[in-house]
């Protein structure tokens, strides 16, 4: 097909390994191209694209309230994104970060409201429970894939929906807060179960710090340890993995414990740092688990780069809220953005892996 579509004067060669500079440049071009196409939608809505992008940037970064909204959204994207880089390295298609996040939120809520633990132990126990619940939700598809050969995309996705309805069931049924006058929320968390925030904002900074520390740790784990090496071998060359005696089950299970667990931590952050209660799943997550797929892909499966890409998508999400309110644009525009960026990103990989030049006569 490439031959069919390629004019004679173009030369296409496979690049051995694209350099960091090439990756960065191609990614930037892809994002700019996606934003240019998205500009058409603004124009179609009668909004000047320039003023739309100006209010996205200004709204997300122009003042402290914008920056705090950006950081608030960056936190779950960062945690889920790091987890997804690990899964994608092993070529495990974890599309289920959203469900793993929700399960983490559920577990944290359970500990916060019903454990009866003394104050200082509450938050550590909530983070532990959230990690475990997310890990459990993540490890089920891992076992199903390795043991029974069941497609990971489907199981992780289906489990997103199941998690969503588990939360709905809890807030409408057994966990509905007696003090909430019939609304579908749980009761508010006690103060000891709330993560400290910066000032009046929703920036629960300990979770942010945790995310950044985990990005560094996971980077070292993936690139400098035997475990990380085995994950890469299973992902890039399963045959070699089998011959060298690497257990696929063990490796994929570890990958998904980490990936699901990190998403679970994001869920803890949302209920214990932002909402202080379990509430409607779409309010807890706002699609973080899906957006994190693009975050991880844009970071080229590198946990350190996730710090930057999750910030970028934090800007887009916070800015998307601003244009929704200020310019009256529908919130789904952000999905269009995400879809376009993703297409341009994967499309751009051709230019990363192949060198395209003008042929000399």
């Amino acid at each position: 097909m490439l031959k069919v579509l390629t004019p004679k004067w173009l030369k296409i060669e496979r690049r051995p390994v694209p350099s960091g500079g090439v990756i960065f440049l191609v990614s930037i071009i892809a994002i700019v191209a996606a934003l240019l196409v998205a500009a058409i939608f603004f124009a179609a809505y009668g909004v000047s694209p320039i003023s739309a992008y100006r209010s996205i940037i200004g709204g997300a970064l122009g003042n402290w309230s914008g920056i705090s909204e950006t950081l608030r959204r960056m936190i779950p994207l960062l945690l889920c994104g790091i987890g997804l880089t690990i899964a994608f390295r092993a070529l495990f298609w974890n599309i289920g970060a959203d469900g793993q996040l929700l399960l983490g939120a559920v577990a944290a809520t359970g500990v916060a409201l019903f454990s009866g633990l003394p104050g200082p132990l509450l938050l550590p126990a909530m983070f532990f429970a959230g990690f475990s619940a997310g890990a459990l939700w993540g490890v089920i598809p891992a076992v199903l894939k390795v043991k029974l050969g069941i497609n990971d995309v489907i199981t992780t996705l289906m489990m997103n929906y199941i998690a969503l309805y588990v939360v709905l069931w809890l807030i409408h049924g057994p966990w509905r807060g007696p003090s909430m006058r019939g609304y579908a929320y749980t009761d508010m968390f006690p103060p000891a179960a709330r993560i400290p925030v910066i000032g009046q904002s929703h920036v629960h900074w300990p979770t942010l710090v945790l995310g950044i520390v985990l990005a560094v740790i996971m980077y070292i784990f993936l690139n400098r340890t035997r475990g990380g090496f085995e994950i890469r071998v299973v992902g890039e060359n399963p045959h070699a993995a089998r011959f060298s005696g690497i257990s696929e089950l063990k490796t994929i299970a570890i990958v998904m414990v980490l990936s699901g667990g990190l998403a679970g931590l994001a869920g803890v952050g949302e209920v214990a740092g932002v909402h202080y209660q379990l509430l409607d799943p779409t309010q807890i997550s706002m699609g973080y688990g899906y957006t994190a797929i693009i975050v991880a892909w844009l970071a080229r499966k590198n946990p350190l780069a996730v710090i930057i890409t999750s910030f970028f998508f934090g800007v887009l999400m916070a800015g998307g809220d601003v244009i929704k309110v200020n310019l009256g644009l529908p919130f789904q525009l952000i999905h269009v953005f995400n879809g376009l960026i993703m297409f341009f990103l994967i499309g751009s990989e051709l230019f990363m892996n192949y060198k395209i030049s003008i042929r000399r006569q």
């Binding site: 029974l148 199981t155 929906y161 199941i162 789904q332 995400n338 993703m342 297409f343």
Partner: protein, 309 residues
């Protein structure tokens, strides 16, 4: 209620809810048989649903809505085809992007249509003759959407094309061993493009069924995960249209039977049932030794470049 009427209502609901699943699955089977996994079903379906609703509302012609939905689904699928076939992009990511884009676009475009009634939905029809068969007749062939019968009729046709014609052999060859097909003079990319577009057309029609028949109204998330269940059913069906029909109706019947338990079980739990079933069905299928014999097309998700293995 006697067991007869119980059976009849189960069949009738299985057909009504199973039809969009069947349409989507038939299309996805063709795409995957040619070697292209398209996770964008949900996105193409919602675009079809949107297009069908708008066209039907404006013209009062539901069948025009179906045709436009098919066209929109087909055109929309070209994005995935271009990314995954021409640009050799990762098919999983490209399909996910298509779903995101579709859900986003349909939500943006359809905002002003939310909550409007539809005055001319697709009508129901009863098949003469067949509807007289006891139980089967009133269950499957009485007062159903014409599209449901068309989907049913398409099953043997799609099966025959896939397994007993030159076209079908070509499609399967491209999905199993594109290099050999290429050396025999088959244009691999063209076959794959066509199959992806077939998948898009079917998903678009499935969307139309939802928005102008099943729930004749427009809401932004109205496909509600059906597109993902289609992906699971395609595996369950071993990429065979006939099993696709069995799977779709069986799945829809399970869904309906779960709903009958709402006196005992919380509604949120019931709504989670289809997704639990989808996983259970895949577990069940994986236990058979069948999988080795009738597994996925060998070149599924692998882009093809001549001279590069």
């Amino acid at each position: 209620m006697g067991w007869e009427s119980w059976l009849i209502s189960t069949f009738a609901r299985a057909l009504a809810y199973g039809t969009p699943l069947l349409l989507g699955t038939l299309g996805e089977i063709y795409a995957e048989r040619s070697g292209v996994l398209n996770l964008g079903i949900e996105g193409m379906m919602i675009m079809g649903a949107y297009a069908a609703f708008v066209v039907t509302s404006k013209t009062g012609q539901p069948w025009l809505g179906v045709i436009v939905a098919a066209a929109v689904g087909g055109v929309f699928s070209l994005i995935h085809a271009f990314a995954s076939i021409t640009l050799k992009a990762n098919q999983v990511v490209s399909g996910l992007a298509l779903t995101m884009l579709g859900l986003g676009l349909a939500g943006v475009l359809g905002r002003s249509w939310v909550g409007l009634p539809l005055f001319t939905p697709l009508t129901r029809a009863t098949v003469p003759g067949l509807s007289a068969i006891p139980i089967i007749g009133p269950g499957f062939f009485t007062r159903q959407c014409l599209l449901a019968y068309i989907a049913m009729l398409l099953v043997p046709i799609m099966w025959y094309i896939l397994f007993h014609t030159r076209i079908g052999v070509t499609i399967r060859a491209v999905g199993e061993d594109p290099a050999t097909a290429d050396s025999l003079g088959v244009n691999v990319a063209r076959v794959r493009y066509l199959c992806v577009v077939v998948g898009g057309i079917f998903a678009g029609i499935a969307g139309a069924y939802l928005s102008i028949y099943y729930r004749p109204a427009w809401t932004a998330g109205m496909t509600g995960g059906i597109g993902w269940i289609v992906i699971a059913l395609t595996i369950f069906a071993f990429w065979n249209p006939v099993y696709g029909l069995v799977g779709s109706y069986f799945f829809a019947a399970l869904y309906f039977l779960a709903y009958r338990m709402q006196m005992w079980v919380a509604p949120s739990i019931l709504k989670a049932m289809p997704y639990v079933f989808a996983i259970l069905i895949l577990i069940f299928v994986s236990r058979g030794t069948l999988q080795k014999r009738m597994g996925a097309p060998a070149a599924l998700t692998l882009p093809y470049t001549r001279g590069e293995e």
